[in-house]
Amino acid sequence: MKFTLSWLKDHLETDASVQQIVDAMTMAGLEVEHVIDPAARLAPFTVAKIASAARHPDADRLQVCQVETVDGVKEIVCGAPNARAGLTTIYAPIGAYVPGLGVTLVEKPVRGVVSNGMLCSAAELEAAEESDGIMELPDALAVGTPAVEALGLEAVIDFEVTPNRPDWLGVAGIARDLAAAGLGKLKTGAVAAVPGKFPCPIRVEVDGEACPVFAGRLIRGVRNGPSPQWLQDRLRAIGLRPINTLVDITNLISYDRCRPLHVYDAALLVGDVISARLGRGPLEQSGDQPSPAPHRDEQLIALDGKTYDLGPEMCVIADANGERPIGLGGVMGGESTGCSETTTDVFVESAWFDPIRTAQTGRATGITSDAQYRFARGVDPGFVVDGLELATALILELCGGEPSQVVVAGQAPAAPAAFAFDPAYVKALAGLDIPTGKTIAILEALGFAVAGAEPSLAVTPPSWRRDVDGKADLVEEVARIAGYDALPSTPLPETPRAVGGVLTARQSRARTGRRYLAANGYAEAVTWSFTSRDTARLFGGGAEALVLANPIAAELDCMRPSILPNLVEAAARNARRGFADAALFEIGPVFAGDAPQDQKLVIAALLAPHAPRDWGKHSDGDLFTLKGDLLGLLEELGAPVGSLQTAQGSASPWFHPGRSARLQLGPKAVLAEFGELHPAVLKALDAAGPMLAFEVFVEAIPEPKKKAVKTRGALDLSPLMPLNRDFAFLIAADRPAADLVKAVAGADKALIAAARVFDVYQGVGVPEGQKSLAIEVTVQPREKTLADAEIEALSARVVAAAEKVGAKLRA
C-alpha cells in the first residue's frame, strides 16, 4: 500500500516528518517496506531561466543558451525544440545523476561548444513517462527553487498491510492508527448525504448468497473527461494511471477509504434492473481430473479486454433482467458498460462482496485488481452507503450532474457485537502496566466503543475491525499503540530440568552419527526432501500419494524414498565441476507414504572412490573402508554390532547385486544396507561410477535399555597370555568367509577369543573355484597355561569345525 504525506494530511493534522511517520508506523505494526523520496534523488536539480538562446554554430537542431541558474549564468547546449529565451525550466549541474537517463553529467563539448550543465525534461526527472521537450514551469518560480518543490513531488511511503487490517488499505485508516499512536489529530470528516433529486430509474436486486448488499444511484448530466491536475497527481504519485474523472474518483475513494466502487455508463445498460447473482457456468472440476475445456455457458469480457468464464462460485453483476453479465462483483467491471469521455449518465455502485468468494474468484480468474484485493481482505460493511455519498459529492463537484435517490438491495453483514473485557488482562497477557483510563482512550481512538466499568468493560469493535473478536485482540491493540518498547523483560520461571538431558535416543543418535561421520572424513550435506518421480521410482518410491500437486520444479515433484539419489546427484555435480572424490553424508527424513509414521530417519553416506593417487598405495576408497565406517557408526549409535548378520546380496535392487549386503538382526530388523550402487541406476542418474554408499535406518536400531544406575559390569581379565595360531583353509570361492569364521570361532567357545581373516588368496596353488582364507585364531587360556598337546587338540577341533562348512586345511 502506497500513500503520500500530503494525502495523509487530508486525514491527519500533524507536523511530523516522513521519518517520524515511518517510525511510528513501524512501531504500530504497519511495516514500512520502503520510502521513495524524490527529494534525495532530485536534490541537484533546481529551477533556472533561459536568458537567451541562439542557434549552435555547427548544428541546426541545437541551441546554445545562456541560463540563469543557482550557480550563476551558465552556457548550456540544448536540443529541445521548446528551449527559448524567457522559459522557466529545470537545470542540472555537471556531476548530477539524471535518473531518467541513468547517466551522470560530465563536462564535454557538444559539437565544439562546451555545455556547462543540462536543461531537463519531465521524463529525465522521472516525473512523467515521456515528454517532448524540456520542462515549462510557471515564470513566478524563483531561480534556485528545488525541483522537488517546483514540481510538487513528495515522498511516497510503501508498507506491508497484514491480512487482518484491510482498513489500512485506505489512507484514512492509516491516519486513524497514527492519530491513536499520538502522531497528530484525526480530521477525517463525517460523510454528508447528498439528497436525491428524483427516484432512481434503475432498480437493484441481489441474491444474498452472491452479494449481501448492493447500493447505487444514477447521476445524470455529468461531463466526463480528464480529471483535474490535483487528482491526476495524487493517483500518479502512488503509481496509478489516471483514466477519466469518473473512474479516477472511484480509484481515489478506493485508496482513500478502502471503499471500492464501480461506475456504469447508464446509456449502455440494457433494461432497468441491475442484479447481483451467482454465475451460471458449470462447477469446476477439482482434484487430478483434467481441467475442463473452456465453457461458453456464461462469459464476461472485462474492462481489461479479456474474456472470463463465469462459474457458480462467482458473483456476477448482470443487466437485461439478469441475463447479460456486465461485471464480476468486487473484482472487475465489464467492457460493455464502462464509462468513457462520452458518458453523460452514470450509475454508481457501492456494494459489499464476500471476502472468501472474492478471493476465490480472484484465484479462479487470475484477476488481482485493487477492488479484488480489498474485498478479499474485507472492506468496511458499515461504509457502503457512505462510500456512495462520498462518490456522489465528488462527481457533482468535478463532473456536475443531478443525483437520483439511493437504491439499496440486501443487507450488510451484522456489525461486530460487544464483548466483556477486563482491562487487568493487559497486564496479565502483555505484562504491561497501563492505567485503565489509557487503555480506554487507546481503544476509543481506534474506533472501539467502550461502555461499563472495571472489571467488566463492554467493548464493541468498529464495523471496519472484523478481525477483533476477543479480549486478546484488545490487548494487542493497547500494547501496540502503547508501544512494544515498553514491554518488560521478565526471566522465565525456573522449572525442574530433566536429569538425563533433553534429547530422546533418536535425537541423540542423529547427533552422534553427525559427529562420527564428520570425524571420519565425510562432509555433511543437506539436500531437498523431494526428488523427481522417475528418480524416486529407481529407489522404490514414486507412489501417487507422495507426488506434489504444485512442485517448484518438475524434477522436484516427489518426496524422496531414500537419501541416496540426492547424494548421487550431488556427487555427480561435484564431479562435473572437477571434484570427483566426494565423501558425503546426510541425516534426514525419507518417506514411505504420506502418513506421519511413514516418515523415517535415515543416516546415509556416499563415497565416490576417486581418491587422489598416492605414492604409498594407501587405499582409502574401497567398499571395506566404507564397511568399517558403517560398523564404527553403528557401534557408536549403540547397535549390537556383534550380533549383526551380514546378509550378502539381499540389499535393495539399487545396489550392485554382488557387492552389497544388509546388516540385520533377523530379516525383519534391517539396520542398514551398504554396497556399491548399481551401475544402471548411476547411469540413469547421469553419474559416473563406481559409487559406494550406505543407509542406516535409525528407528530400526533397538532402543538402548534404560538402566537405573550407570555402573558397568565387572572387568574380567585373564592373567594368562593369549596366543595366536594361524590356519589357511581352502573353501569354495562363492562361500561367504563369514561362514568359515563363525565355524572356527565356535570350535571351542571357552578358549577361542577371536577369529579373523587376514588374507584371501586365489590363483596359483589354489584349485579353480576355490579360495584360500588365512585365519588368525586368538586363544585365551582362562585357568592354566595350555600344554602343547592341548593346543594340538584345539587345532584339530578348529580343523574339524572348518570341515563341517566345507573347508579343508591347506597343506
Binding site: N164, G521, A523, G616, D620
Partner: protein, 370 residues
Amino acid sequence: MTDLTQLQADLTGQIAAAPDAAALEAIRVAALGKAGSVSALLKTLGSMSPEERKEQGPRINALRDAVAAAIAERKAALESAELDARLARETLDLTLPAPPRRKGSVHPTMQTMDEMVAIFAEMGFAVAEGPDIEDDFHNFTALNFPPKHPAREMHDTFFFNEGPDGERKLLRTHTSPVQVRAMRVGNTTPPAPWIAAGQEPPIRIVVPGRTYRMDSDATHTPMFHQIEGLVIDKGIHMGHLKWTLETFIARFFETDAVTTRFRPHHFPFTEPSAEMDVGCDRSGGEVRIGTGEDWLEILGCGMVHPNVLRHCGIDPDVYQGFAFGMGVDRLGTLKYGMPDLRDMFASDTRWLAHYGFSAFQAPNPVSGLS
C-alpha cells in the same frame, strides 16, 4: 716375562684390528677359549711351585682380564658402528606426503541447529518433533487460520493430490503444527514414538525441523529449516517472551552488543503478535549484527492465540503462553556470513569444506558455541 708382554701386545693388536663380530669371536676363542693361548698359560699355574705361582699368577690373570676387556670394548664399538650403518640405510624421505585423509565436516545449518538447541536446553526446553507431511488441521485450522483465509495463501503451500478419502495433505509451511501435537490434550498415542505426544501444561519445548514453501531466490528456498519455541504455563506473559528471545539472541550471536526490537505484526496463531528485529549495519553490502543503526527482521512470535489453545483442549483462562519461530538457515547465514541461502542445499564440496564445522566443535555450555 717378555712372553706375556708380547702376547698381550699381539692379542690387543688383533682385537683392535678385528673387522667384525665374527673375527673378534675367533680371536676370543683363540685366546680365551678352552684351547686358547691365554687359557693355556692359566693351566700352567697348577704345575708351578708356590713361589713361582705367587709371582706368575697375578700377571697371567691380569693378562686374561686385559684381553677380555679389550674384546668387550671392541665388541661394543663394532655393534655401535653396525647400528649406525643400519640407521643410515633406513633413512626415509620425510618430505613425501602423508596418505591423503578426507576432511569431514558438519553442515552449517545443522551446526546452527545444534547451537540453538543447546541454548534452549540450558533454558529448560525439551526437543519435540513432528512429520514433514502434514494435514490441513495441524498446519492451518488448529492454528486459527480460518478456511480459505488469505493468510493461507501467503504461505505458498506445497500440496499433494487429493487422496481417496478426499483429504489433501501438504508439506508443513512452518514447524507450528508440532505445537498443536504437543498441546493436544487427547493426543496420548502419537502415530510414531518420535512424534510429539500431547502433554499437560506446563509445556516448554523447541521444535527444530524441515519446512517447505513454494519460493526460490537468494533469500528463499523451497525447503528450509525452522526452530519453533512454545511455553505454556500459568502467568506467562509477553515480558517472558521478550526476555527469552533477548537472552537467546545474545547467546546465539555470542555478543552482548546485539540490540533487539519488538514490533507489532500479525500471525493468525498468536495474539498479540510481534516480529523481532536485530540491530545491524548494512553499509558495505553485507549485514553485520551487533553494530549499526539499521534493523533486520529475524523472527516472528507472540502469545499463543486463545483459539489455538481451545482447539487443543487447553482452557485459555487458566493457561497462557508464547510461541516463536525462526529460520535456522537464515540465522546461520547471518552469523557465519554465507551470501546466498541456495548454496546451503547445493552440496558443493568446496562450499561444505569452507563453511562446514569440525566434528569436534559440538556446541556445549562449557566450551561455548563456536
